[in-house]
């Protein structure tokens, strides 16, 4: 019978085998030199979470500094380094690799039914590039820090006297290549390693999202790489292409930077959107609404993302003509986003919704992304952006989409696949509580920043006018609330690792292929070629009393087809 039940994982899962990817080989080197995409994914995840922690600590420091006008805990120089580091770490070390490289690496080949990604060695190499990039970034702290803002705008970045600029440029350059290789790997994997029956439109939407993301990673990141090279050459050898004192053009730098960094913001959000498609479908046990529209809209976002970069430069001295063109195109991205948003909402309609932790994260995502995306419209409109540009309004906008959507999506996905990755269940109540705390804290922190911004508080400000203080105080309180929430999440995960009950192979009742292999998956993912069905047809899931697990039973498919709707 197709019913809902919460997993009772204390019972041993019959399908779990003792030989899984975690236990397949042992020892440090077996991890460090592994070619197994699952292990690489786990290593990425650990590294990304550690970086998130570091970036979060910087966020707390800067929020603390902003508690009062003037000096609270540090000097202006230090503050500038704080937000630069916070931004750079969160963007380059955390959010860009988080979903594709960490979750994607783990999930993509299994979902696809492949044994591994196309180039396992390249995959490991890109992880080590990440490590090297992170090392350079951290080294820049020792070398004198850097205070350029995460955007490295010239000529400030080429003239600032802080010593860590070149190391961090090298670091970001290296990280860029890590990202390129991950994307390249995924495109080839999706193209060439699909098993029989896995057609493009049978692929789970997460894969479509990862595929679109990979296109952006491959095509946009090289431009960042060369831009950073030019910056390094500028600083070391005075080449002058971006330096107005030499006749160069700082606005050209901004064109280059945003040609990468605008697609980069969709590199962050599109995979999160993919995760949300999975979470909403699986946890409401309901065929995703408008599969093809969601799939196409991912690709559409990827394509449009390349031609809107100038909306970050409306006031930079960019010409009025280009401002107009870029503003117009910017709105085009709102359409595929709208399609997705409404499709997700419609998926809930007549679903069978379990309010699990991943579902809570998905709902938070919907709530926060709608706000974040809609405020993007304020920014994309030419005359309102004149007022809002470089104020806290923009800060709030991008935290709603980067933190409130991309990162929340990532954490939701982590909860979703956690039983698969670790083979352990977590404390559902605790996870849900943490999610709610984060949600409340988040809105406290960043909703006030919309007001701050539209009232005229510029961003990257160490000191501010006293009339803004009340907002800053609320915001800081929110940040600490969020910290408590994330701390709870961390405790929940650690507890699950230490003493969590064993996870069944399919705790949520998913249909896509990863739920049809053991938890944790064996070294080779699949011993037999998996059966590819409709990965959103939840009528084939059946609760199995004996193993206390959901079972995907393809025989049900036929039965249902004959019966029509079934209750």
């Amino acid at each position: 019978m197709t019913t809902i039940d919460t997993p009772r994982p204390e019972v041993l899962d019959a399908t779990a085998s003792e030989d899984n990817y975690l236990t397949h080989t042992r020892g440090f080197l077996s991890w460090a030199l592994t070619l197994d995409h699952k292990r690489i994914g786990v290593m990425y995840m650990v590294s990304v979470l550690a970086s998130f922690f570091v970036g979060g600590v910087f966020a707390l420091l800067l929020r603390t500094e902003l508690l009062t006008p003037g000096r609270t805990i540090c000097s202006a120089e230090t503050y500038n380094q704080f937000f630069t580091l916070h931004g750079a770490i969160m963007v380059f070390l955390v959010i860009i690799p988080s979903i594709p490289a960490a979750l994607g690496n783990f999930v993509l080949p299994i979902m696809l039914g492949a044994k591994d990604v196309a180039f396992p060695r390249l995959n490991l190499f890109s992880y080590f590039l990440w490590v090297a990039g992170a090392a350079f970034t951290l080294y820049s702290l020792v070398a004198g820090g850097f205070d350029t803002g995460w955007t490295f705008y010239t000529p400030y970045s080429t003239t600032t006297t802080t010593g860590g600029v070149i190391p961090v440029l090298v670091g970001v350059f290296v990280l860029g290549f890590s990202s390129i290789f991950t994307g390249l790997n995924f495109i080839v994997t999706v193209h060439k390693l699909r098993p029989p029956g896995m057609t493009w439109f049978k692929m789970p939407l997460f894969l479509w999202a990862l595929y679109s993301t990979a296109i952006m990673q491959v095509l946009a990141t090289p431009v960042l790489a060369i831009t950073l090279c030019l910056l390094i050459v500028e600083r070391t050898m005075n080449i002058g292409i971006f330096n107005p004192a030499m006749g160069g053009d700082p606005v050209l730098y901004q064109h280059f930077f945003w040609f990468y960094s605008h697609p980069a913001v969709y590199i962050m959000i599109v995979p999160a959107m993919g995760i949300i498609s999975e979470l909403i479908a699986v946890h409401s046990h309901r065929q995703i609404f408008g599969y093809r529209y969601i799939a196409y809209s991912s690709v559409a976002i990827a394509m449009f993302s390349f031609i809107v970069w100038g909306h970050h430069m409306f006031l930079s001295g960019q010409s009025g003509l280009m401002n107009t063109i870029f503003s117009l195109i910017s709105f085009s991205v709102a359409v595929p986003s709208a399609v997705k948003t409404f499709n997700w909402t419609m998926t809930l309609y007549k679903g069978t919704i379990s309010l699990t932790a991943p579902m809570l994260y998905a709902l938070s995502f919907l709530f926060l992304f709608t706000i974040g995306g809609l405020t993007g419209i304020h920014c994309a409109t030419l005359n309102t952006d004149v007022h809002l540009h470089d104020t806290y309004f923009v800060v709030a906008h991008f935290h709603y989409v980067m933190m409130g959507s991309a990162l929340i999506g990532m954490i939701g996905g982590l909860h979703h696949w956690w039983p698969k990755m670790t083979g352990k269940m977590y404390n559902e109540k605790m996870a849900c509580t943490a999610c709610i705390i984060v949600f409340v804290g988040f809105n406290l922190t960043f909703f006030t920043q919309f007001m701050l911004g539209s009232q005229g508080m510029p961003r990257r400000y160490y000191d501010y006018q006293p009339e803004f203080q009340i907002y800053h105080v609320i915001s800081t309180i929110g940040a600490y609330t969020m910290a408590i929430g994330f701390f709870t999440t961390a405790v929940c995960f650690i507890q699950s690792l230490m003493s969590g009950p064993k996870a069944p192979s399919n705790p949520w009742g998913g249909v896509s292929l990863e739920w049809q292999c053991a938890s944790p998956p064996p070294h080779d993912n699949f011993s037999t070629v998996p059966h590819v069905g409709n990965c959103y047809d939840f009528s084939v899931v059946r609760w199995d009393e004996k193993t206390k697990n959901y079972i995907v039973d393809h025989k049900l498919e036929l039965a249902h087809a004959e019966q029509g709707s079934h209750r």
């Binding site: 492949a114 044994k115 591994d116 990604v117 196309a118 180039f119 396992p120 390249l122 080429t158 003239t159 390129i180 390249l184 790997n185 495109i187 080839v188 193209h191 060439k192 390693l193 699909r194 098993p195 029989p196 896995m198 057609t199 493009w200 491959v218 095509l219 946009a220 990141t221 090289p222 431009v223 790489a225 060369i226 831009t227 090279c229 030019l230 050459v233 500028e234 600083r235 070391t236 050898m237 005075n238 080449i239 002058g240 292409i241 330096n243 107005p244 004192a245 030499m246 006749g247 160069g248 053009d249 050209l252 064109h255 280059f256 040609f259 037999t528 070629v529």
Partner: protein, 320 residues
């Protein structure tokens, strides 16, 4: 959609479990996660093409910088282009084309399993790369001798003690010169003021007229003055500094010239390294009709290096 269909066919063909097993026994080079050599080859090829796409964008951004600079300083480009040696550039183009040919032949011989011919072709390609770099070296050293460099040192005559010292210093200190500082404090009849008192004048007047900092405020540059390349004595170190026709910002041409040819040069060096590895592996006998993927991929890389040069050559050397 065609390729998708083809794709699926190959997938279907490849995924027959038994066949896959046999394939692995038959082809030792077949990685465990691929089912057939065709699948592996196709994957490698696609991967390489995607990498080439990143290379195209990598260079592409510099081409954009080039285009932007050329839009800003057309007179500089047509003037400074004449300091480049077309003969050397032309020879280098030929060298690269020929080395591309030998590389393509290398792939052919690898496919045919003719080991000796492959090795010879690879060596020839290597020789082409080296030849290219040698010629480039002469070009560079000639230019540096003539003080045709990027940055402020372009304006410092070398070969005197002060100049050398400044050269050294400039190479390290990031430039922090004030940009608008010397804008006159009480501009006598400044453009701004005249706009203020003659309201009919359009705002755009401030744009062109010289209200910039000292030294920046000249009117339009004399475009016609630029094209007389034949009178420039090439080999004097500061010849350009004595040329009355040299337009301002000429150093920017050399900045982008060194940036682009330098990056290209680095790619040639990398190409030599990977070709070296190929030679080693070919000698060892790794390649044959069954397995020659690395040769093919390096070939693609080498052709893209050639391709970039095909654009660099006319864009720098052949400006009228």
């Amino acid at each position: 959609m065609n390729h998708i269909a083809a794709d699926q066919k190959s997938q279907l063909a490849g995924h027959d479990a038994h066949a896959a097993h046999g394939e692995h026994a038959k082809y030792p080079f077949l990685a465990h996660h691929f089912d057939t050599p065709a699948q592996q080859f196709d994957s490698a090829k696609l991967g390489m093409w995607l990498f080439l796409a990143t290379e195209v964008l990598f260079f592409g951004a510099l081409f954009v910088a080039y285009a932007v600079l050329r839009t800003r300083f057309p007179e500089v480009f047509s003037y400074a282009s004449h300091y480049l040696d077309t003969t050397m550039g032309g020879i280098n183009t030929a060298v690269l084309i020929v080395s591309s040919l030998t590389m393509a032949l290398g792939v052919y011989f690898a496919q045919r399993g003719r080991k000796m011919a492959l090795i010879i072709c690879l060596w020839l390609t290597m020789a082409g790369a080296a030849g290219f770099l040698v010629i480039k070296y002469f070009e560079y050293s000639h230019k540096i001798h003539a003080n045709l460099v990027w940055g402020p040192s372009f304006y410092i005559p070398p070969h005197d003690a002060v100049g050398e010292a400044e050269h050294a210093a400039l190479a390290h200190a990031p430039a922090a010169a004030p940009v608008a500082v010397a804008a006159p404090l009480n501009p006598q009849p400044s453009a701004i003021q005249s706009i203020g008192t003659h309201p009919a004048v359009d705002a755009s007047v401030i744009k062109a007229a010289g209200s910039g900092p000292r030294g920046l405020g000249v009117g339009a540059v004399d475009h016609d003055a630029a094209v007389t390349h034949d009178i420039i004595p090439h080999d004097l170190p500061q010849a350009h500094l004595e040329d009355a026709k040299m337009p301002p910002n000429t150093h920017m041409f050399f900045a982008i010239y060194y940036a682009m040819t330098g990056l290209h040069g680095i790619h040639v060096v990398v190409g030599m390294v990977v070709i070296g590895i190929l030679i080693y592996r070919a000698t060892r006998g790794d390649f044959g009709p069954n397995y020659y993927t690395p040769v093919d991929l390096v070939g693609l890389y080498w052709h893209i290096v050639d391709l970039v040069w095909i654009f660099l050559f006319p864009l720098f050397y052949l400006i009228h």
